[in-house]
């Protein structure tokens, strides 16, 4: 019985968020929270090799940075987001994240026009460290070239990419 439970749990966690398996101990405790991020309206997240993610609902893409990226950056102290209405091309510089004396340029993983910014993280940048896939989203944009999504990695692909680069 216990064995069955354990294996169910393993599949469950894997399905929900394989990314979180990097921090195995926290992945299971936090699983329900990450469940809520994929609540049907948003498609599966797509990832870049530079650790940004995008989740699309219709024509609107929500952009954030991955758990790997937020851990590498450390405590975020200030976030400069793009202005609503600005248009960006894929991989264009669109903001700055400042963490412990380092200013990191922020790039958009897909082309589009900014429709909304997460004003909550402007006031509380630490949300990016606490919840990078949920409350710590950065901005939303209306996709101008949706086919760009095909060039990005899915969760399994991104997890493999992280593993390969670890070695």
């Amino acid at each position: 019985m216990a064995r069955v439970l354990l294996s169910t749990l393993a599949t469950f966690t894997h399905k929900v968020s394989p990314i979180q398996l990097i921090r195995t101990s926290t992945a299971i405790t936090h699983a329900p929270r990450y469940l809520s991020t994929t609540r049907g309206v948003l498609s599966e997240r797509k990832y870049t090799e530079k650790h940004e993610w995008v989740a699309v609902d219709g024509k609107i893409g929500t952009i954030g940075i991955t758990n790997y990226a937020q851990e590498a950056l450390g405590d975020i102290v200030y976030i400069q987001l793009p202005e609503v209405g600005t248009e960006f091309e894929q991989m264009e510089e669109c903001g700055v994240l400042e963490s412990v004396k380092a200013a990191s340029d922020l790039f958009t993983p897909v082309s589009g026009k900014v429709t909304e910014i997460n004003s909550a993280i402007e006031d509380r940048p630490e949300l990016l460290n606490i919840s990078c896939y949920d409350e710590g989203w950065l901005f939303k944009l209306e996709l101008t070239v949706p086919s760009e999504l095909d060039g990005l990695m899915d969760e399994a692909g991104y997890e493999n990419f992280l593993q390969e680069n670890k070695e």
Binding site: V96, V100, K101, A102, A103
Partner: protein, 381 residues
Amino acid sequence: MLSLKKLSTNLLRNCGPLGAVSTSLYGSTSQPSPSRPRATEPPKRVVFISQSTDVFSNLAFEDWLYKNWSFEKRSILFLWRNSPCVVIGRHQNPLVEANIPYLESAGVPVARRGSGGGAVYHDHGNLNCTFFTARERYDRRQNLELICNVLNHDFGIQARANSRDDIVVGHDNKVSGTAAKLGRTSAYHHCTLLVRTDRQQLRLALQGDKTIQIKATHSVSSPVANLGDIGGKDMTVEKLLASLGRTYLTEQEQDPRLANGFTLVNPTDDWFPGLGKIEADLRSGEWIEGKTPRFTIRRSVSLPPCLAGTSASANITVQAYHGVVEEVRLEDGLMACEELTDLVLDISTSLKGTPYTPGIFCDISNRLRVPQPLHTQRSFL
């Protein structure tokens, strides 16, 4: 004192040939030999020394390299110093970090850099080091260790990097502050080194207006020391520059004759096409004031008798974002008379969108003395 030119000639004798600028700048000598696999080839190291002491030119050169060069095959140590100036971090407020009235009267510029971190004062007694690498090779602890090793071995100064990546001596007296900029493929880490900086000027220059409320990056003020006071007369900016450059080059290449020499650079648009535009942007109000994060500032403004109710003055708060006024509001509005509340609302509407200047409270005070027609009309209704 050695001039930079003389210094580099001296170094040539010790460190090998100075790469002719035309070839070394565009990297024909830094290609890895095809017979060796690229992965095992460490990037070639190059030392640049700026011939300018203008903060905007030097910051523009940093940004130019960061934006235009690839650091896959070469790493750069850029050594530079400036005439007196204050340099604030990417997300800081010049009014909070720098003593603007004093600096303006003394003709000392305030510059905003692209990297994070806090405000610093520069003068000729301060040496700046910028380590450029590929993003994946960015390692500021390693750079700080190199500097500490040079201080220990060449000058007998026991220095260490603390948890904030500041280099400290003795009882946690700071001699160096660190900041970094990380991009998609490139990164740089730069730090200051106080050798013979005028500490009195440093203290005065960094006395900003701390009554301003900010949600931006805070500077952490620390007691500072000069390396020159510890290392004796041998500890000069010129000697430190030479030691750092030599160690940086020979650390990797054991045979100093094979190491590249130092390259003197002139950070101008002629040498580096496009640099002039970057420099103009760095000098512009759009960058220096325009990149200031949201802040609020509250002042007590005296009221004309016709508006003064229970109090002869009112607390007015101005909120600004990116150097532009967003809102003017009356604090403790419940205590104020209706005329005052309405008048402040009118003032807020007319000042919204205008550039913030410290003189704004004078302006507000004046406007409170001249009731607007709109306001008079409204009170009749």
